[in-house]
Amino acid sequence: MHIDARNIEDDSLIEGDICIVGSGAAGISLALEFLNTPYKVILLEGGGFEYEKQMQDLYKGKTTGQRYYPLDSARLHYFGGTTGHWSGFCSTFDPIDFKERDWVPHSGWPITRDDLDPYYPRAHKNLDLGPYEYDVAYWQSKDPELKSLPFEGDAVYNKMWQFSKPTRFGTKYRDTIVKAPNIHLYTYANVTDITANEHATAITQVTVKNLAGKQHTIKAKEFIIACCSIQNARLLLASNKQIPRGLGNQNDNVGRYFMEHLEIKSAELWLTRPDVLKLYHWEWEITKARAELAISENMQRKHRILNGTASLIPLDIAKKQAAFIDIWSADTAQTKKNFAKFEKVGKEGAKKEGHSSYQLFTRIEQAPNPNSRVTLDTEKDALGVPRAMLHWELTPLEKHSLRGIYKIIGEQIGIAEAGRVRLMEYLRDESDNTWPEFTGGGWHHMGTTRMAADPKKGVVDANCKVHGIANLYMAGASCYATAAAPNPTLTLVALSIRLADHVKQKIDAV
């Protein structure tokens, strides 16, 4: 069922069993889990079904610290959310990503990789991925041309990625959601406030507003906030009428530990003979699976480095391609042009016989850092909600880890007599902790309502429930305690399905 919240009587009261705020990958995955159940689900979307400038404007915000993308361009504010422009990169987190590591401050989740294992295959279906197979041997059995670089041992291994179409949730799931009798999708329903009971131990209602000047109230038994990491934190912080610091923020953790994946040109791989390296090749909408070079858990422990992987791009192509941070601008048309040029260079530069030199491009987790954070600005958006401010801050551990990763890959390539690795200029001086101008993120926002067993160390518990509030849950990558190396979508969908199961069990038991 779909209701446009602009077209119903002002000050309406809407009641249901479960209220899901946000209809991106997390919100829609949650709603799908409640299809054909006896529960009435209220699914709130701030925008409509299409991109609209005035809706994106609600996501505008200032950034400080490390250079970052315009906030209103990094997330999409309509049904389907940011799946409207994602690239479809998916891989599973590693067991080490959930563990406490003494060299990574604030690391460790209250759940393990085993806890997510049952949910990854279910998430695969939502994302239209292939078989739940991340073993390189499986993919090599399907295509013998997927040959590995000749590594000895497992210090460096091939970590597989799979690629979604990419599934646009807004397109794929619109009919399913709209036709579901128990899912009540409200568009143009921006949550502007969350109201708790007297002692802030439970949520009683949320307030929604739209640019048509309407305001409504939603009451439910369970509330799940699934608006993306920056908006999740913003909403908790802005809901401060009863608790001045904001809901769930009794220990000043909301908004802190904002994490991105550093996605950055880092080194060069020079081979003794040209090779197409098909196993590592990715082509938009064609490649089903590919490998990136990953570092074993033992080597991460030995070198006290973060988890990161390297992808390979022919060097002569990579040198002509702009850095991501320079591609993505506030001007949507210009961004499209920049991406078209980026892809054109890639297609035109590929050689059938392969290449002798490749750029090694890193995607690496950012160490959890309390000073990397989302706060509220004094400026408000058109609905009267304080805008988000992002301070993105890196630490020396990221740079130490980048150097470590390429030292390890360089050693292993040397052992294999396959070639040599050369670090880029900015990584050569071990005492230099500054970052070059082309440093960028992967548009992956994580960690602002992090998961921790101890309320002093995080915002949500192992079930994504906000500490101290009986019926408020956070969904999505904002719950990540650490960022791992892979793109976040697969894991956030798996975590959302796990959350749906938990909420179902909880309300079934009542």
Binding site: G410, I415, E417, G419, L423, E425, R428
Partner: protein, 95 residues
């Protein structure tokens, strides 16, 4: 002269780059800045004259791989190199 030719590395880069790498190595290892010292270090004290060029090449190629396995790795001009091949570059620079 085989002792001054880093086998794998010389297949990847030109002579100018080898000289640059050699010069950068010597900047931080000034005690090795003479032909005799470098030759002795590379040959493990053995006399170059007692070996054929291909024997030296084979021996040093194996030593380079052994360096990588043992972690005797150095970063010169950004290259992740075996200590042996960095010394070979240095020798190439000064002969």
């Amino acid at each position: 002269m085989a002792v001054a030719q880093p086998f794998v590395f010389s297949h990847l880069v030109d002579a100018k780059t080898i000289k640059e790498v050699g010069a950068n190595y010597l900047e931080t290892h000034s005690a090795e800045r003479d032909r005799k010292t470098l030759s002795q270090l590379l040959m493990g004290g053995k006399d170059v004259a007692n070996f054929k060029q291909n024997e030296i090449q084979s021996m040093l190629k194996k030593q380079v791989t052994a360096d990588f396995k043992a972690g005797n790795v150095i970063q010169v001009s950004g290259w992740v190199m075996a200590l042996t091949e960095a010394r070979q570059c240095a020798l190439y620079t000064i002969i």
